[in-house]
Symmetry: D2
Subunit: 89 residues, 4 copies
């Protein structure tokens, strides 16, 4: 189930961050630390994408098919907003 997958991935990123803290304590090379942070961020991006995909296939469908135009507009606007936030340079 999607939920469990997202939780599992977040737990992994948490462990990854602890490893990165260890790298800093052990004075590992800065560039290696930065690359590990990049990897943690790529993993978080994946989680965001999975959650958005779940949202599109549930809340969005319900709102678009529902009778409430305000609900629909709100849900579509939220998706446009998270997309805009994601594309920020």
């Amino acid at each position: 189930m999607k939920h469990d997958d997202a939780l599992h991935r977040l737990k992994n990123v948490e462990g990854h961050l602890r490893g990165i803290q260890k790298m800093i304590e052990d004075d590992k090379y800065c560039i290696d630390v930065i690359q590990q942070i990049n990897a943690a961020q790529a993993a978080l991006n994946k989680v965001s994408s999975m959650i958005l995909e779940g949202h599109l296939n549930s809340c969005l469908i319900t709102a678009v098919r529902g009778d409430n135009p305000d609900d629909r507009e709100r849900v579509l606007q939220e998706i446009a907003d998270v997309f805009e936030a994601a594309t920020k340079v």
Copy 2:
């Protein structure tokens, strides 16, 4: 109309890029050039977001309300994909 706004913005970015080429030819300071490229990219992000918003309010609504589950799935998957592409570190 949304279309015209997106076209207008793309035309502006085109002019911006010509200005940046001029900066390079004139040997302007590299960091200033990079900041102008960043600004051009922020403008392109805005155009992407506007186009996605238009898409959500037209094609997406049609597909989600339509009778064709394949169409709906395809449209939702495409949106999930552009979001994932946008979040790539």
Copy 3:
């Protein structure tokens, strides 16, 4: 000291990720979860930037002033590479 600040921030992001896992377990609204993940990523970006700044002010200066051209080239190339990785759409 820079080190402690980076460690402190990473520890905070770790706690943030645990909070996000709790949000998912409690079935919080997807869009709110995505926004919290965005916030965690912004915090990680800050840590990367701090570490790079430390690197520029230490290893880079040593390498550029040193007698070893290979060392210097390597260090400059690494910085160019992390910048390129950071700008990936």
Copy 4:
């Protein structure tokens, strides 16, 4: 020479943006338009990276080896700043 390569790439992106305007005028599918904008942005990222690399191998080396600590600090700070701008979510 690096300069010419950056100019050439910027000219290409300019042409690409004209093509994207044509796509919008011809009412091409939104998702295809967004993907083309992504491609233009990836090309701009490449130009930024090339310019930064040139900067590291010229101005930066001069500043770090020079006698003026203010110059050096300024140049290092600028690089830290463009990196931070590049990583903004």
